[in-house]
Symmetry: C2
């Protein structure tokens, strides 16, 4: 029975994780039986939502177990198959990441559509990142041409896709990010306003940038950003709540001074996960594929090399190390 | 030119209002011209939302002006008319309350439907109170048979209507109120669980009462109650945000420990005002009229007598003095 190197959860983080919470060790892989495939991973995704699964709390996905291998988005190539629907050489997307090889039933691996894009895009704009941006902006928040849209963590993987989709659809876009380099990139992407939240309170910058307010808020951050969006919301504003990275590592719960505006301004807040919209993935591939082909949506990655770098890449998400999608290349 | 006694805003409250913020004095009334009516008020409504208009902030209705007469819901009889659509003796609902007489253009006064109910009901279950409960529960939160509904301030005017509408529609109802007398009344109204929030933390009581969670939350309170509802929400729960009385008089903004559950549980929060649904008032009168005739929805009032008692009645809302609708009878 062959094995693979895989990152395991050694202990549950309390607050901000540190490298000692993770352990790279040999994982035994099952032998290949009928209906199964073996996949060599080439790209691994690290995503902020994984922090939540490291806590021992009930959520929409079960928590990671201490001592067990971690899981995350990955792209790889089939190297051995006993399933008719997948052939050696096929590129597949799957959730057995944070490891070098994966073995499992074929239905857990998705052959990527024939779209002639670099493999790692299936973890970015054509993967869960892009789908989260697309469905959150267009379905949850029902953003439409002419709307003014505020996006937090706009230089991140999801945020930068939201900025570009919104511009492709004819919206006015305000993005926030930490630092001038990220803000400069947001302006390159077409953002009408790029706010450096490290420079001054975000609520002041937002209300100065768009004094007439916002129609849509795409929330990746929570806390002060959510409060600023509540303060700036126009009548019937819609907030798609995608993430609250400020709160993932504990600390004080957010005090929302402007929460009461939800009544007078009839604000709608709705949480979502992109998998709620799996039945509409065809629309997503069609639209996002078109925008990528035309250059309306561009990809940018922050890449770390080697399986050893996975925890550092993950921890970097919470320090704001990444511009665009954070990936590990094997 | 005749006058009337009317309550004026003497100064803006800071935090909890006190009687010194209000002044009863003579208000000159315009002379009756074509298209105008004179109305003798018989019942005045005091409502928590009026506190917001006493602050000098932009909201869905303009703030009250210092030195100017206050306004609020009222019912009265036409005593003089120069408008063909209203005759002396007609009972009308209008927003020129907190005064004994009102003079204005006929279009600002609504003749009540011919439904043979006591006049004060047009300020309660058949007025803005009942309409707020009806549209918030059934339209905003889309509550339906079989849902488990949590209502805060459930012994108040709006809350007690929500409890009864929900029971009439076959829902399981959890109501919270302050003190055993109010809780006993909630059980009389058919609430499946009546939680005294003064006895123990509401979050503990709620999760014990309905361990499988809630589908709908009707929020009149904000703060700890909203946090408890976030903690207890089932997948795709809907929150109708009607009021946040905990925050009306200032104090610390609410810290929501369970706000992040909005993502995993796909919770939807939406603020509203009943006037958003004016086009559906026909449905409301039909349903609420039917429930009142059958006894499915009962009215209860806490009544103060005389124009002099208006500020005390209003301040009593924030002390929880009222069971059911707080009214002033002239």
């Amino acid at each position: 029975m062959a094995g693979t190197r895989a990152w395991h959860l050694k202990s549950r983080p309390s607050g901000m994780p540190d490298p000692g919470n993770f352990e790279l060790k040999e994982l035994a892989l099952p032998s290949l039986e009928d209906g199964m495939v073996r996949v060599q991973n080439s790209w691994l995704s690290v995503d902020p939502y994984m922090r939540g699964r490291m806590n021992d709390v009930k959520s929409y996905v079960p928590p990671f177990e201490v001592g067990a291998p971690l899981q995350g988005g990955a792209v790889g190539k089939v190297v051995e198959s006993r399933a008719p629907e997948l052939q050696p050489g096929d590129t597949v997307f799957h959730m057995f990441g944070w490891r070098e090889q994966a073995v499992g039933r074929a239905e857990h691996f998705t052959k990527v559509p024939a779209m002639h894009v670099p493999d790692h895009q299936w973890l970015g704009n054509l993967g869960l990142t892009g789908a989260t941006a697309y469905f959150g902006l267009l379905r949850v928040a029902e953003a439409k041409q002419g709307d003014t849209v505020f996006v937090s963590a706009a230089a991140g993987a999801v945020g930068s896709a939201v900025v570009q989709i919104a511009k492709a659809k004819g919206m006015t876009v305000v993005g926030s990010a930490g630092g001038e380099e990220k803000c400069a990139w947001l302006r390159e992407l077409g953002a009408d306003f790029a706010l450096d939240y490290r420079a001054r309170p975000i609520i002041k910058q937002l209300t100065e940038a768009v004094p007439s307010g916002i129609d849509v808020y795409f929330d990746n951050v929570g806390g002060d950003h959510l409060d600023a969006a509540l303060a700036a919301a126009r009548q019937n504003a819609r907030f798609a709540i995608c993430g609250m990275i400020e709160g993932y590592n504990g600390g004080e719960p957010p005090a929302l001074r402007y929460l009461m505006r939800i009544i007078g301004a009839r604000i709608m807040l709705k949480g979502f996960i992109y998998t709620d919209y799996m039945s509409e993935m065809g629309d997503f591939y069609r639209d996002m594929g078109g925008w990528m082909a035309s250059g309306a949506v561009k990809a940018r990655e922050t890449v770390q090399d080697g399986i050893e770098s996975v925890p550092e890449a993950f921890l970097g998400l919470f320090r704001g190390d990444n511009i665009g999608k954070m990936l590990v290349r094997l």
